[in-house]
Amino acid sequence: MFGSFTEDQLQLRELVRDYLRDKSPESEVRRLMATDEGYDPAVWTQMAREVGLQGLAIPEQYGGQGAGWTELGIVLEEMGRALLCAPFFSTVVLAATTLLESGDEEAKQQYLPAIADGSLIATVALTEEDGRWDDSGITVPATHTPDGWTLSGAKHFVLDGLTANLVIVPARTASGISLFAVDPAAAGVTRRPSITLDETRKLAVVEFDTTPARLIGAEGGGGPVLRRVLNFAAVALAAEQTGGAQAALDMSVEYLKTRVQFGQVIGAFQALKHMAADVLIEVESARSAAYYALEAAAQDNDELPVAASLAKAYCSEAFVTAAHQNIQFHGGMGFTWEVPAHLYYKRARSSEVFLGDAFAHREALAQRIGV
């Protein structure tokens, strides 16, 4: 129920927080963000098999534990807090949700158990060069040949596009947008890592040249599936942003209590106290927005599209505010590479535009409440 958590959910949070404290300390974040792959395969496997995070919200019949969006939201909030470097959002939020929503039983049976046990990294290659998140951004054509479907064209900003062993590609067919599964080892696939602002989140350009692809779900049925996936993903990202915003605030308060200037800790300066109080309101309000949206996602009720856009808009700006002020609170230290404030700032900025920015989502919110 919105506003409170069950004993099990509280325990899950503790478990994940402890685990990430151990496996994703700042030193690990910095080590992994400097690699092309951007994750630790041993941790990834352990996370799936011993902690059960990849399969948490995957139904039991496909090898998961059958929990819901509330639980997944708790995990994402903690991952956001720890800036975990791993292909979790791409694999679990984008790809697994797309498969579940596709209605393609065979594809679900083939891929979901592998996602749940950590042996498959997957992603959805949605955006193209113009970076649009809606249907109009999808132009890559799929062609039907006697041997099956092929794809030609390029996808950009593909989350974990370099490491995924399954790329789900929305493309154009005669009947509209359709979803395709592509094995990146197949003929005609080229992958190039992108140089990113947020190095903890890996992006790639993936190009196809008459690459064989397998249709997922009904031909022409991809549009409605993607719209639902984007709603769920917006909620998931809002939860992750909330965790990041809280971490930035915690870091700020810690510094305000220790840095001394003019013979006193800077946290005694009212200008800074008032900034911190305002950040706290934003962080708690972001948390409320994310939790409310997670509840709508868990119930899959008619408030979901509205709550998703509200939460994505709110949490995007709240995280940017918390991360921005965190740097300001730290003064010159905040501008250094050494202090991790910039890591949160970059994650906040990149998450702000990922899946559509606050302006786009507020406009969607207006349309979705009927204005």
Binding site: V253, E284, S288
Partner: protein, 407 residues
């Protein structure tokens, strides 16, 4: 609800129904009100020694529902504005005599119009620096001083009064809290004209006012602690009722309807298609909802048995909601906003409410004071420089009057 809870609710409803069958004869008079109070139905959540029954909020709703079902008034009124504010303070700190004298009158509706004699010309935010004095003289206190910004003072039946009773200790330690009648000799109320053109608040002059010693609430010189309960009630009623916004028209969830007023205003102005206006409305829409949701979370945290730091955020968050909502409506009515003519009711209301929004950001502790409180009590940041800390109040530099001379 568990089966036991359901059974208990059913038993309570039966008890109320039986009591109503025996006592309610369709006439709402003084005798009826007295019986409702004495039976404990007027304030079901208050303790038994304070005309209550020690029930939960949910049970109180059951009681109220049974009364409503037969059209009987007077049940579960302990959440009404001044009844809650004065009542809860007396319930927590009042002497048995004070409880016996005042609580039944608050609950029966005999005493409804109260006022708060806190702020003074020299002391607003720094309320603990107040300089109105109360000096013991046998079984009365003699009060001298001036209060200001006293909302409703001109029509109040009673007042909650803060006065200094010890000048030789630091400021917080020498204050006492009283509840007094407003018709005592020596109390003079002068209305102050507000920016809105109306006069809701007043100056109150207290000259040799003799108040019975029994009007003291809590211990002598312990008034600052008593005040905290009263302030909590006041802030709670200011824009942050701990509960969700009501459903909109046709049972639609608030997430769809919480800014219907703004959408309507934009539509009326022909600006619903304007991108900047749409962004502005949706931003306010989101602020309203997240503040409600924060309140829901706070309520659940409190119900789960802890306090909730979230409850301290709502009043501050509400300031920008009010100011920005009315400022947007002001811009939407365009040139009409330049007039303040009651003949144009709609435009007058917008101007009026735009100005009234300041009550949230100034009254009951300004936004800046709220930020001090949040940063110190929730985030744990240190207090700033306090020149009056630990200094006997007699030796503290005092504030002058807040109003320019000759006004």
């Amino acid at each position: 609800m568990t089966i036991e809870q359901e059974r208990a609710t059913g038993e309570l409803a039966d008890e109320v129904r039986a009591w109503l069958a025996a006592n309610w004869h369709g006439t709402d008079d003084a005798d009826w009100r007295r019986r409702v109070v004495e039976a404990g139905w007027a304030a079901p959540t208050w303790p038994r020694d304070a005309f209550g029954r020690g029930l939960s909020r949910a049970d109180a709703k059951t009681v109220a529902a049974e009364f409503a079902a037969v059209g009987a008034p007077g049940a579960a009124v302990e959440t009404r504005a001044f009844t809650a504010l004065a009542g809860n303070t007396i319930v927590e700190f009042g002497s048995p005599e004070l409880k016996r004298d005042i609580l039944p009158k608050l609950l029966s509706g005999e005493l409804t119009r109260g006022c708060l004699l806190y702020s003074e010309p020299g002391n607003g935010s720094d309320l603990a620096g107040l300089q109105t004095r109360a000096e013991r003289d046998g079984d009365v206190f003699v009060v001298n001083g001036q209060k200001i910004w006293t909302t409703g003072g001109h029509e109040a039946q009673f007042a909650l009064l803060l006065a200094r009773t010890n000048w030789d200790v630091p400021k917080h330690a020498g204050i006492s809290f009283f509840i007094i009648p407003m018709d005592l000799p020596g109390i003079e109320v002068r209305p102050i004209k507000q920016m809105t053109g109306e006069s809701d608040f007043n100056e109150v002059f207290l000259t040799d006012v003799r108040i019975p010693a029994g009007t003291l609430v809590g211990e002598l010189n312990d008034g600052w602690r008593v005040l905290q309960t009263a302030l909590k009630e006041e802030r709670r009623t200011m824009g942050f009722e701990l509960g969700a916004r009501a459903q909109g028209e046709g049972g639609r969830a608030p997430i769809f309807t919480a800014s219907d007023d703004l959408i309507e205003a934009a539509r009326a102005a022909g600006k619903l298609g304007d991108e900047a206006v749409r962004q502005n409305i949706m931003r306010i829409h989101s602020w309203r909802l997240v503040n409600d949701w924060n309140a829901v979370r706070a309520k659940k945290e409190i119900e789960a048995g802890g306090g909730s730091s979230l409850a301290s955020l709502g009043k501050l968050a509400n300031s920008r909601i009010l100011h920005e909502s009315w400022a947007l409506k002001f811009r939407l009515i365009g040139a009409r906003g330049m007039l303040y003519d009651p003949a144009d009711k709609a435009a007058y209301e917008v101007d009026h409410q735009m100005m009234w929004s300041f009550i949230n950001s100034i009254g009951g502790g300004t936004d800046q004071i709220q930020r001090n409180i949040i940063s110190e009590r929730i985030l744990g940041l240190p207090k700033g420089y306090e020149p009056d800390r630990g200094v006997p109040f007699r030796d503290v530099r005092k504030g002058g009057t807040a109003r320019p001379d000759g006004k």
